[in-house]
């Protein structure tokens, strides 16, 4: 009997504390989940992350010095990433004091590297042997219908010209 009632009390406490616990939970799960994503990315980069390039084609140069190309194609890839709600909540705290925002660091780093990796994969799929004029653009994308909704994300667009030889 006493066990039953204590169980109910714990349950009620848990439900009433949920709104307070939510940011913490979101923060913790976000950190764990993004850590896993990052590990997967690092593994993927090791396996097939060697960027397509050679000595004659400079990756980010806009003009090519030597033109030994059979054909070319435009490559573009974009990815939307965002930190979790809890991380946004704590970042607001952190930004009062300034300093390094670790959560954003990780998310943005992940997004950019993932975009480059996908660009590389797209180039391989289309039979390109190298890429020139790689550009990465960053923009904030918010599809939130009202300002109360803090759902915001960052879009990374990577585009390049793929060269087939």
């Amino acid at each position: 009997m006493s066990e039953d009632s204590s169980f109910i009390i714990v349950l009620v406490l848990l439900f009433s504390l949920l709104p307070i616990l939510l940011p913490f939970l979101s923060w913790a799960i976000g950190r764990w989940y993004q850590g896993r994503l990052m590990d997967a990315l690092v593994l993927n980069e090791k396996q097939n992350g060697v960027m397509l390039q050679n000595d004659q084609h400079l990756s980010t140069a806009s003009s090519m010095t030597t033109m030994a190309a059979a054909s070319s194609t435009l490559l573009h890839v974009s990815i939307c990433v965002g930190p979790s709600m809890g991380q946004i909540f704590f970042m607001w705290f952190k930004s009062l004091f300034g300093g390094r925002l670790h959560s954003y660091d990780v998310v943005l780093d992940f997004g950019r590297r993932e975009a480059l990796l996908r660009l590389n994969q797209q180039a391989k799929d289309l039979g390109c042997s190298s890429m020139v004029n790689i550009r990465i653009e960053t923009s904030t994308v918010s599809f939130a219908k009202n300002n109360k909704n803090k759902t915001s994300s960052v879009e990374f667009l990577a585009f390049a010209t793929g060269i087939r030889q």
């Binding site: 994503l37 435009l74 939307c80 990433v81 879009e155």
Partner: protein
């Protein structure tokens, strides 16, 4: 989206590698404004609990960007061009809940 897909030589460098430009026809642009489906928005809100990649937004932006490119190609082909060089992309938030995807380039005739 236009069902017909036009194939065209495109690059974001000054030339089409492997080809020579015979004639330049001037600026071509393509743009599209997209808003989010509310159901998917709620789904993305759930995903926002953990962060990371927001697949719904990624898909939406890819689809819209392809449409903008498609419109640019339509404009170029109506000018009689068969290639576009110096393609640039731009994204901007025009209103709450909507995003504009814009691309522009120079239409050329290549050989």
């Amino acid at each position: 989206m236009e069902p017909t897909s036009i194939s065209m030589y495109m690059s974001n460098v000054e030339t089409i590698p492997g080809m020579t430009i015979a004639k330049s026809l001037g600026l071509v642009t393509g743009s599209t404004v997209r808003a989010k489906h509310i159901g998917k928005d709620i789904f993305a809100g759930f995903k926002n609990f953990v962060g990371g990649e927001l697949k719904q937004y990624t898909d939406l932006l890819n689809e819209s960007r392809n449409e903008a490119l498609q419109r640019m190609m339509m404009q170029a082909s109506s000018m009689g061009a068969n290639g576009i060089v110096n393609v640039r992309f731009a994204t901007s938030n025009v209103a709450a809940g909507a995003s504009e995807l814009f691309c522009y380039g120079t239409a050329v005739i290549v050989q």
